[in-house]
């Protein structure tokens, strides 16, 4: 006769079976419920026939059949399920669906607001083209990032004290981007470009704090923000490609009836679309995060070995031929970009790696990649250092040099931590912590470029 103890253990076994089935992609929760109903009825019938509950469970399981074969059968019938679909509204009924819909509506409103914000200065006679282009370049991030932050403030229900700090950051950014007398043309153009490039980097940290929503102080929270940033970039590029196709067709068919859409495209479609797409892409990344495999780590897996091979070949060739790095104006920026790419490859492979798994071949590739990038950069820095006095310190060069040093420090210490991990003397989480702790450094340097460079290099 079934005792309470037996009943519990059978319930436990059913729960375990359910969660085991739940991991199969082709079997959805509705199907599991259907199979479970079957299993329970079978167990009840067998128990009535005199079997002990655990025996009944075993027989019923056996009759149900091999779970691998079953999930293969399901996969054959529902092959679409193997392709994870981005169903923005989840199929489970009830509250989550309503929440997802609200989320979509709110995100859409923020996107529309961002699209309209970029047109607000035009009301005051500041046009996108000609002499006001510098104004837009410096302030571009200020049109969209506050709204993106607003979306996350709403989504994460941030308290008012955090909100106040975020607002202060944006107001300060607005002040520093516009308080200096940037004039069109001449030497200030370089500073305008520097502000345009660095303000978004500084403000991205503010977005991150809103995104992490109170988890910024934790490694996990910052790592999530890194993952979010990578996915956002990929989604944004995809949306931009789609937008380009749409625009091309629009231009073509309107051309056919003799209408030139270029003015509309330049002053409305491109700026509003580019701004709104940031919020839309962020919302998509949020909505899909658990549904679709992250793309950034996949690309990392693909390109890490290729970049490592290119860099090793580069170092080998330059050693073999004895060619030094040819110092031209932009060489430092080129090597900065190289380090950024390598850092990105490192970051996104770190973000996708299970810290508990032991070192593998891919980890060795990563270390080779990082070390060869460091050596290549050292070669370039050596060449530049020899002639830096000759070139003089222009704002561009100082900014590029500062970035190079920041990236170099990050990658050098990452290499040390990674090698320690490979030799079993450290854990992978050290590397994670180092990378996530380093995030504010980029923002601080970017803020310095925006706030300190203009007075130092020209105006006051």
């Amino acid at each position: 006769m079934p005792t309470p103890g037996d009943a519990v253990s059978v319930e436990e076994q059913i729960a375990r079976w359910r969660s085991y089935l739940g991991r199969r992609q082709a079997i959805h929760s509705v199907d599991i419920a259907e199979l479970e109903d079957h299993l329970r009825e079978q167990i009840a019938v067998l128990a009535d026939a005199g079997l002990a509950p655990d025996e009944a469970f075993l027989v019923a399981m056996k009759r149900m059949g091999d779970l691998d074969a079953l999930s293969r059968e399901f996969a054959r019938e529902h092959s679409d399920r193997l392709w994870k679909q981005l169903v923005v509204v989840p199929s489970d009924s009830g509250e989550p669906r309503a929440r997802a819909r609200t989320d979509a509506i709110v995100a859409f409103c923020f996107a529309v607001a961002a699209a309209l914000a970029i047109k607000v200065p035009a009301l005051f006679g500041i046009q996108l083209v000609d002499q006001d282009a510098g104004f837009y370049a410096r302030n571009l991030s200020l049109f969209v990032l506050p709204l993106l932050t607003g979306y996350f403030v709403w989504k994460r229900r941030l308290d008012t004290s955090t909100l106040r700090w975020l607002a202060v950051a944006f107001v300060a950014a607005g002040v520093f981007a516009n308080v200096y007398p940037f004039a069109p043309g001449g030497s200030t153009e370089a500073l305008t470009a520097l502000t345009a490039l660095h303000l978004p980097i500084a403000l991205w940290l503010v977005v991150g704090i809103a995104y992490a929503g109170g988890r910024w102080s934790q490694v996990g929270g910052r790592m999530d923000f890194i993952r979010f940033s990578g996915e956002l970039f990929i989604y944004y590029v995809l949306i931009a490609l789609g937008g380009a196709v749409l625009t091309a067709f629009m231009a073509m068919i309107f051309q056919a009836i003799g209408i030139d859409i270029e003015p509309f495209f330049e002053s409305w479609l491109l700026p509003c679309g580019a701004m709104g797409a940031v919020v839309v892409a962020s919302w998509l990344v949020e909505a899909k995060q658990s549904v679709i495999e992250n793309m950034a780590p996949v690309l990392t897996r693909l390109f890490s070995p290729l970049f490592a091979a290119v860099l090793v070949t580069f170092l080998g060739t330059s050693l073999w031929t004895g060619r030094g790095v040819d110092i031209e104006r932009d060489v430092l920026i080129a090597f900065d970009l190289l380090l950024v790419v390598v850092l990105g490859l490192l970051l996104y492979s770190v973000s996708a790696r299970d810290p508990r798994s032991p070192p593998g071949a891919f980890d060795v590739v990563q270390v080779v990649l990082v070390i060869s990038a460091l050596l290549a950069d050292a070669v370039a820095l050596w060449a530049i250092a020899a002639r830096i006095t000759e070139f003089g310190f222009s704002p561009n060069r100082v900014a590029a040099l500062g970035e190079n040093v920041i990236l170099l420090v990050n990658l050098a210490w990452s290499a040390v931590l990674y090698i320690r991990f490979l030799r079993g003397r450290g854990s992978f989480t050290d590397l994670e912590r180092w990378q996530t702790d380093y995030l504010p450094v980029y923002a601080v340097w970017a803020a310095i470029v925006v706030i300190v460079f203009p007075p130092v290099f020209g105006y006051i």
Binding site: D37, R40, G65, E73
Partner: protein, 128 residues
């Protein structure tokens, strides 16, 4: 006696459709009915019925609804549609042709029929 997998797979559609043509039913009860009808000789792996039901549903031969059963659990009931009935009629014609052919050749062979199970009268459910 064990019936081979290909035969089970081929006969599953007409059997399930015919059982549903008798009355609306659900997974466990369908399997129970298969066991009764075949005298225990058609041993289906229980789980495999469900992908079959889902395929029939996708093809529009059956439709499902969710109801709370007397056990208190939600249960998915299946009902045959008019398309399913047409499909069943078609399957029945085809199986009868196969059956007639085999009967003809058995008779011509004059082979002794191997010792049979008492419930062998209705190897196929006749419904529709």
């Amino acid at each position: 006696m064990e019936i081979n997998k290909d035969l089970i797979a081929a006969s599953s559609t007409p059997i399930v459709l015919a059982i549903l043509a008798e009355e609306d039913s659900y997974g466990y009860a369908i399997l129970k009915r298969v066991r009764e009808l075949s005298g225990g000789r058609m041993e289906w792996t229980d789980g495999m019925l469900y992908p079959v039901l889902h395929r029939l549903e996708r093809l529009g031969h059956v439709e499902s609804r969710s109801e709370v059963a007397e056990s208190g659990r939600r249960r998915k009931y299946y009902r045959i549609t008019s398309r399913g009935l047409a499909q069943l009629a078609e399957e029945r014609r085809q199986w009868q042709a196969v059956d007639a052919t085999l009967r003809g050749i058995w008779r011509a062979l004059f082979l002794p029929v191997p010792a049979s199970h008492p419930a062998s009268a209705a190897p196929l459910p006749q419904g529709g």
